[in-house]
C-alpha cells in the first residue's frame, strides 16, 4: 500500500486515540505525512499511568509484535525512519517482552535499514520513563524522551509538525497503534462496523476496584456502563451497592448510579461530564467517602503536576487545603465557593489536561455526592 492509502484506511476506520484524548488517528498521521521535514519519528506512549488501567501492559506483555507491527505501519505510512516506545519503568515484564520482540523483528528483517526488502528503513527502540505521571502527557513525554525534564509544552506547534527533537512526530498510545494491524488486515470497514456514533471499533476495558471479576474485556463501543459493571464485572466484590464509578483514570469524573446506563461512547460520556479516557473503570461501594475521593484528585495533581503552569502548580495544593478546611467545618460555605472558583480556574486556565481535568472528579463529587461535603465532625486527615 502507498503511504497515503494506509493513512486513508486508518482515517476511514474511525480509529481515535485510545490514550484518552480520542483524536482521530488518521488525521494525525495525515498531518505528519504532509510535512516535508526529515527525519520523522513514531513515538509510542506506553507510559500507562492512569489508576486502574493495564490494557497497554497486557498487550505489550502478551502480544508485543502487534504493537511493533502497528508502529512499523505508522512509520511506513508517514515516512518516519525511527520509532521509540516510551515505556514506564514500572513495567519490567513488558520491557523484557518488548526487547525480545524487537530483537526477533530485527532478526527477521522486519526492522532495520531495509524493512522486509521494501528499501524502507525503520528502527525501533524502547526508552524507559522515570516514574512521572506527567510524562504520559504527550509533550512532556517528548521532552523526557529528548533527555530533558518532563515538562508540558504549549501547543501549537503540534507534535505532528514539531515533535520529537523539533521534527514531525506521530505520537500514539499503545492500543491505538496495536489497532492498526487488524485495520489493514481486515479493512477499514471491518473495524468501523463496530461501535456507535463517532466512537468506532473496540476498546479494551479495564475493570478494577470493588468488583467481583476485575480484569480486561474488549468490547465494541456502545456497551453500557451498567453492563460492564454487572454483566462483566459481576457487581461489587463486597456485595454492597456500587455507589460511584470513576472512569478514565484519576482525572475522570465519578459517575453515580443514575448514570450507569450511559453508553460507552466518547460523546455520550462527555455529555454527562464524564470521560472514557483510556477505558479504566474503578468501582466503589457505598462505604466510600466521596470527599476523600475529591481530595485525592487534588492530592494526585499536587504530586504529579509538572509545575509549569500556575493553576496546576499552586491550585492543586490549595485544593487539598480547601477540602481539608471543609472537612474540618471551617467556614464551610465560603470554602465550597472557593473550591468551585478554584476548579474553574484550574479547568479553564491550566496549560494541559492534568490541571484542566483535575477539577472533573471534584466537581462530579460536588454535583452528585454533595452530601459528603456537608459539615461533619472533624476527623483526622488521612
Amino acid at each position: 500500500m502507498a503511504p497515503a492509502d494506509i493513512v486513508a484506511a486508518v482515517t476511514e476506520s474511525g480509529l481515535r486515540g485510545r490514550g484518552g484524548a480520542a483524536f482521530p488517528t488518521g488525521i494525525k498521521w495525515k498531518t505528519v505525512l504532509g510535512e516535508q521535514s526529515a527525519p520523522k519519528y513514531v513515538v509510542c506512549n506506553a507510559d500507562e499511568g492512569d489508576s486502574g488501567t493495564f490494557s497497554d501492559r497486557m498487550l505489550m506483555e502478551g502480544d508485543p509484535l502487534c504493537l511493533i507491527e502497528g508502529m512499523l505501519i505508522a512509520g511506513i505510512a508517514v515516512g518516519a525512519t525511527q520509532g521509540y516506545i516510551y515505556l514506564r519503568s514500572e513495567y519490567p515484564h513488558a520491557h523484557r517482552a518488548l526487547k525480545t520482540a524487537i530483537a526477533s523483528a530485527y532478526a527477521a528483517g522486519w526492522l532495520g535499514v531495509d524493512v522486509h526488502g521494501s528499501g524502507k528503513r525503520f528502527d525501533l527502540e524502547v526508552r524507559l520513563g522515570a516514574g512521572a505521571y506527567i510524562c504520559g502527557e504527550e509533550t512532556s513525554l517528548l521532552d523526557s524522551l529528548e533527555g530533558k525534564r518532563g515538562q508540558v509544552r504549549f501547543k501549537p506547534p503540534l507534535p505532528a509538525i514539531k515533535g520529537l527533537f523539533g521534527q514531525p512526530t506521530v505520537i500514539n498510545n499503545v492500543i491505538s497503534l496495536a489497532s492498526v494491524p487488524i485495520i489493514l488486515d481486515k479493512g477499514a470497514a471491518f473495524y468501523r462496523d463496530y461501535g456507535v456514533g463517532r466512537s468506532r471499533g473496540t476498546l479494551p476495558i479495564q475493570l478494577a476496584g470493588n468488583l467481583k471479576r476485575t480484569g480486561l474485556v474488549e468490547k465494541a463501543f456502545g456497551v453500557t456502563l451498567r453492563e460492564l459493571l454487572y454483566d462483566y464485572g459481576g457487581g461489587s466484590y463486597s456485595g454492597r451497592p456500587i455507589r460511584a464509578v470513576q472512569v478514565g483514570g484519576p482525572l475522570g469524573a465519578y459517575m453515580p448510579e443514575a448514570q450507569f446506563d450511559t453508553v460507552l461512547d466518547y460523546e455520550a460520556f462527555a455529555a454527562v461530564g464524564a470521560m472514557v479516557g483510556h477505558g479504566g473503570i474503578v468501582a466503589f461501594d457505598d462505604t466510600v467517602d466521596m470527599l476523600e475521593q475529591a481530595r485525592y484528585a487534588m492530592e494526585f495533581c499536587a504530586v504529579e503536576s509538572c509545575g509549569k503552569c500556575t493553576p496546576c502548580r499552586i491550585g492543586s495544593t490549595r485544593g487539598v487545603e480547601v477540602i481539608d478546611r471543609i472537612r474540618a467545618g471551617i467556614e464551610r460555605d465560603q470554602n465550597v465557593v472557593l473550591l468551585k472558583d478554584l476548579c474553574n480556574t484550574m479547568r479553564l486556565g491550566s496549560l494541559c489536561a492534568l490541571g484542566g481535568l483535575t477539577p472533573d472528579p471534584v466537581r462530579s463529587v460536588l454535583e452528585h455526592f454533595s452530601e459528603d461535603f456537608e459539615a461533619r465532625a472533624q476527623t483526622a486527615p488521612s
Binding site: A132, I134, R149, Q151, F154, K155, P156, C301, A302, V303, E304, S305, C306, G307, K308, C309, T310, P311, C312, R313, I314, G315, S316, T317, R318, E321, V322, I330, Q334, L338, D341, L342, N344, T345, L348, G349, S350, L351
Partner: protein, 748 residues
C-alpha cells in the same frame, strides 16, 4: 525587570515580511506573520496582563495571565503562545477572562510575600503591577497554608502575625522556606519571592547559553536552583545578570537596586569594556548610578550583557581614582597636586624645551582604544598639528594593527566584513585564536545560540577554549596547533581547498585579482604546504586539517572569527591575509553568514585606528606621504604637516634608549604593564625627560611619569565608540566629570 523607561511587548519580534490582518478588541490591526497575539496587541497599545512572557525570551505559556478568547477556538488560549492568524477575532478583556485572571493571581499571591514598601521586597515589580492591573481584592486561601514565603508557619487562630507579612519567630518551621542567597557579589536571590515563571532559567539558556539555572522538583515543590542546588557563587553561573533582568518579582535583584531603590531616569550609552560595544541604559538617581541595564534596542547586544558591563562599574567611584592633576620634576619625587592650568603649562613648557633642545621629532603621543573617537582624534591632531611630527601610535599596535594592515591589503578595508547578527546565518563557524566566551561574552552568547541551532564549529587554538565543549555545543574539529604556527595551519587548510577542487572558481573569476590569486594558488598548492607536510610544524593531524578544510569550503555559509591569537604574533599580518584569502577562495565573503570577522579587544580599537592613530596615516587611513592628502589636512587644520612617517611605539622605545626621543604624552594606555619586553619598555621610559600620563588612576606607566592628568570615565563624557562591527555608538554623559575640579577644570 527591563529598564524603567522600557516597554516589554511580551514575545520576540517576528521577522516575516508577510502581514496578517486580525481584530483585537474590535480594533483591526496588521502585524507580521508569526507574531504572537500578545505582542500583536501590545504593538497597538493593548496591554494584556502577563508574567512569564518577556520579549527577550521565547514564549513559554506558564503564568496563564495572558489568556484571551478567540472566536472559533475553544477555551482560553494563552495569547503569548498563540500566533496570529488571518481574520482572527480576539477578545482580551471581559468578565469571564477577568475572573480567570483574578483566580490565577489569587493563587500566585497565596504563595508570595505581601506587598513590601522597598525594592528588596519587590516594590514596583511586575507581579505587583499585575496584581494591581488585574484587581485582586483578597487572598481567600489564607496564610496558614503551604508556602515558600515564611520561615515559620503560624497557626490559623494566630494568623494576624502572618497577615502583616512579617516573618515571625513563632509557629512551626516551614520546610519549603529557603533563605535569601546573598553569595553573589552583585545580586541577591530571595526564593520567597520566586513565582517559578522560569524567566531566569530561560534567560540563562536562551540569552546567555550557560544553562546554569534549572527548576528542581515538581508541582508545588518546584523551585529555581543554580546548578545542583548550589549557592549562586558556587554554581556554574557567570554573573551575566540576564536572570536578574528577566525576573518579574523581587526574587533576583541587583544589590545596588536593593540598597538605593529605584532610579528616576535612564540614559542610553555604550559600554566601555570590550569590542562588542553593548548598548546600556544607565539607570540614575540624579548623578548616582543605580544600575546598568542592557538596552534591548542595542544592535550589538539585543538586551544582553556580561558581568563586567552590567555590574563592574565600581571603578567610576573607586577611591584609587586620581581626580586632580599632579606634577613632579623627577620621578623620584613625590607627586604634587596642582591646578589644571599649572599641569598643562608645565607639560607644554617641558615639551617645548625638549623639542628645542633635541629637535622636533623628539616627542610624541600614544592614543587610547579605551577613549572615545573624539578624544583619540584630538590626540593624533595634537601630535601632528601641535608637535609638528607624526610620532603618534596607539595601543592597537600590539593588538589589532595586523588586522588593519592585513585586511586593507587583501579586502581593501581595514575592518571586518560582517555585523554580529550575521553569525545567525552561518552554517560553519571557524574560530581562530580567539576565546569569545571569555573575551567577547555577549557575542559568544549569540554565537552559541547559533551553534546550539546546529551550525558546525571548527576551533583552531592551542587551548581547549570553552567553545570546544560546553553545554549543548561541541566543536566538530579542534585543531590544536602549536603556538606560533597559524600561517602554516592556514596555508595547509588553503592547500586542501586548492588541491581538492574546492575553490569557488566563478567567485574568484568575478571578484578576485587574477594574477595575485594564481600566485597564491600556486604557492599554497606546493607539496610543502600539504597538511601531511605541515603536520610536523603545526602538530595538527593531517586528516583533521583536511576534514576541517572540506567542511569550511563546502558546509554552506562559513564564517571566520579571529582574535589576538592571530594578530599578536610576529607573523600576525600574514595570518590575517591568509584568513582573508581562504575566505575569498571559497566565496565565503560578501553576504550574511560568512565573512572575515576580527574580534576586537578593547571597546574602541576599530575607532582609534579609524581616527588616524597610526604614524603613517591621517584619519581615515590616508597616507601622510601623499601630497594631496596632506594638503587637504593642512587646509583643514591651518598648519603645515610632515610627510615623514612617525615612530611606532617600539620605535619610540628604541629612540628613547638612543637618546633621541625624550617626551611622551600617553592617553589611557599602560605601556609599562601591557607591552611586551617590560624591562626594555621601562628602560626606555626611564630614559625620557618628560612623560605625561592621562589615566583614571596611577597605573604602572605613571611610575615613570612627570605629569599626571586625571582622566574621565565613559560615564562622564559625550562621544562615540566604534565596535568590532564598525558600528559607531553614542557615549553619553550621565554624570558630571569627577575630575573637573568642581566644574572649573578642563576635563569632560
Amino acid at each position: 525587570m527591563l529598564s524603567i523607561n522600557e516597554t516589554d511587548l511580551g514575545t520576540p519580534k517576528a521577522t516575516a515580511s508577510e502581514q496578517i490582518a486580525l481584530t483585537i478588541d474590535g480594533v483591526e490591526i496588521k502585524v507580521a506573520a508569526g507574531t504572537s497575539v500578545l505582542r500583536a496587541a501590545a504593538e497597538f497599545g493593548i496591554r494584556i496582563p502577563k508574567l512569564c512572557a518577556t520579549e527577550l525570551l521565547d514564549a513559554f505559556g506558564s503564568c496563564r495571565l495572558c489568556l484571551v478568547q478567540i472566536e472559533g477556538m475553544k477555551g482560553f488560549p494563552a495569547s503569548c503562545t498563540t500566533p496570529v492568524a488571518a481574520g482572527m477575532r480576539v477578545t482580551t478583556q471581559n468578565e469571564k477572562i477577568g475572573e480567570l485572571r483574578r483566580g490565577v493571581m489569587e493563587l500566585y499571591l497565596s504563595d508570595h510575600p505581601l506587598a513590601g514598601v522597598d525594592a528588596a521586597n519587590g516594590f514596583g515589580t511586575e507581579i505587583q503591577q499585575m496584581a494591581a492591573v488585574i484587581g485582586v481584592h483578597e487572598v481567600r486561601y489564607g496564610f496558614d497554608v503551604a508556602n515558600h514565603v515564611h520561615a515559620f508557619i503560624v497557626d490559623r487562630e494566630d494568623q494576624t502575625v502572618a497577615v502583616h507579612g512579617r516573618t515571625s519567630q513563632q509557629g512551626r518551621s516551614n520546610p519549603l522556606f529557603t533563605p535569601v542567597d546573598d553569595s553573589n557579589p552583585y545580586f541577591s536571590f530571595d526564593p520567597a519571592q520566586c513565582i517559578v515563571c522560569s524567566r531566569c532559567v530561560r534567560a540563562c539558556d536562551e540569552q546567555q547559553g550557560t544553562l546554569a539555572l534549572t527548576i528542581q522538583g515538581r508541582g508545588f515543590l518546584s523551585k529555581m536552583v543554580a546548578s545542583q542546588n548550589d549557592s549562586f557563587l558556587d554554581s556554574e553561573c557567570v554573573s551575566c545578570g540576564a536572570c536578574v533582568q528577566a525576573c518579574p518579582t523581587g526574587s533576583l535583584m541587583e544589590k545596588s537596586l536593593v540598597a538605593m531603590g529605584q532610579a528616576e531616569h535612564s540614559i542610553v550609552t555604550t559600554c566601555a569594556y570590550c569590542g562588542v560595544g553593548c548598548s546600556f541604559r544607565t539607570e540614575m538617581k540624579g548623578e548616582q548610578l543605580v544600575r546598568m541595564v542592557p538596552n534591548k534596542d542595542g544592535h550589538a547586544n539585543h538586551g544582553h550583557s556580561c558581568v563586567k558591563g552590567r555590574f563592574a562599574t565600581g571603578y567610576v567611584t573607586h577611591p584609587d581614582r586620581i581626580l586632580k592633576p599632579m606634577v613632579r620634576e623627577e620621578i623620584s619625587e613625590a607627586w604634587r597636586e596642582v591646578s589644571w592650568e599649572e599641569a598643562i603649562a608645565y607639560a607644554a613648557s617641558e615639551f617645548k624645551r625638549i623639542q628645542k633642545k633635541y629637535g622636533r621629532d623628539s616627542i610624541g603621543g600614544i592614543t587610547s582604544s579605551r577613549c572615545t573617537n573624539e578624544e583619540t582624534y584630538l590626540v593624533q591632531k595634537l601630535v601632528r598639528a601641535g608637535f609638528g611630527n607624526n610620532n603618534v601610535d596607539t595601543c592597537a599596535r600590539v593588538c589589532h594593527s595586523p588586522t588593519g594592515y592585513g585586511l586593507k591589503n587583501t579586502l581593501g578595508e581595514s575592518a571586518g566584513t560582517q555585523n554580529f547578527d550575521s553569525v545567525m546565518k552561518a552554517d560553519v563557524i571557524l574560530v581562530i585564536g580567539a576565546n569569545p566566551t571569555d573575551g567577547h561574552p555577549v557575542f559568544a552568547s549569540q554565537m552559541k545560540r547559533r551553534l546550539r541551532a546546529g551550525a558546525k564549529l571548527i576551533v583552531a587554538d592551542p587551548r581547549r577554549i570553552d567553545l570546544v565543549r560546553t553545554p549543548h555545543i561541541q566543536a566538530d574539529y579542534h585543531l590544536k596547533l602549536k603556538p606560533g604556527t597559524n600561517v602554516a595551519l592556514l596555508n595547509s587548510l588553503a592547500h586542501v581547498v586548492v588541491s581538492e577542487g574546492l575553490v569557488a572558481e566563478d567567485f574568484v573569476r568575478e571578484r578576485c585579482e587574477p594574477d595575485a590569486f594564481e600566485r597564491w594558488r600556486a604557492f599554497v598548492a606546493t607539496p610543502q604546504h600539504s597538511p601531511e607536510a605541515m603536520e610536523m610544524i603545526t602538530g595538527v593531524p593531517a586528516a583533521d586539517v583536511r576534514a576541517a578544510a572540506r567542511l569550511y569550503a563546502t558546509g554552506g555559509n562559513a564564517a571566520i572569527y579571529y582574535g589576538l591569537g592571530v594578530t599578536e604574533h610576529s607573523q600576525g599580518s600574514t595570518a590575517v591575509m591568509a584568513i582573508a584569502k581562504l575566505a575569498m577562495a571559497t566565496a565565503n565573503i560578501g553576504r550574511e553568514g560568512v565573512g572575515v570577522n576580527p574580534l576586537r579587544g578593547q571597546n574602541n580599537v576599530q575607532g582609534s585606528c579609524d581616527m588616524g592613530s597610526f604614524p603613517h596615516e591621517f584619519p581615515g587611513y590616508r597616507h601622510v606621504a601623499e601630497d594631496a592628502v596632506r594638503e587637504s589636512f593642512e587646509q583643514a587644520w591651518g598648519v603645515s604637516l610632515q610627510s615623514e612617517l612617525g615612530l611606532r611605539i617600539p620605535n619610540m622605545f628604541e629612540a628613547a634608549l638612543d637618546g633621541e626621543f625624550l617626551a611622551l604624552y600617553i592617553e589611557g594606555e599602560d605601556i609599562a604593564q601591557s607591552d611586551p619586553n617590560t624591562q626594555h619598555v621601562t628602560a626606555a621610559l626611564s630614559a625620557m625627560e618628560c612623560i605625561v600620563v592621562q589615566d583614571l588612576s596611577l597605573n604602572e606607566t605613571a611610575k615613570f611619569a612627570h605629569v599626571f592628568l586625571p582622566g574621565s570615565t565613559f560615564l562622564e563624557k559625550d562621544g562615540t565608540f566604534t565596535n568590532a562591527e564598525r558600528r559607531v555608538s553614542r557615549v553619553r554623559k550621565v554624570m558630571q566629570p569627577k575630575n573637573s575640579d568642581g566644574g572649573q577644570g578642563y576635563a569632560d
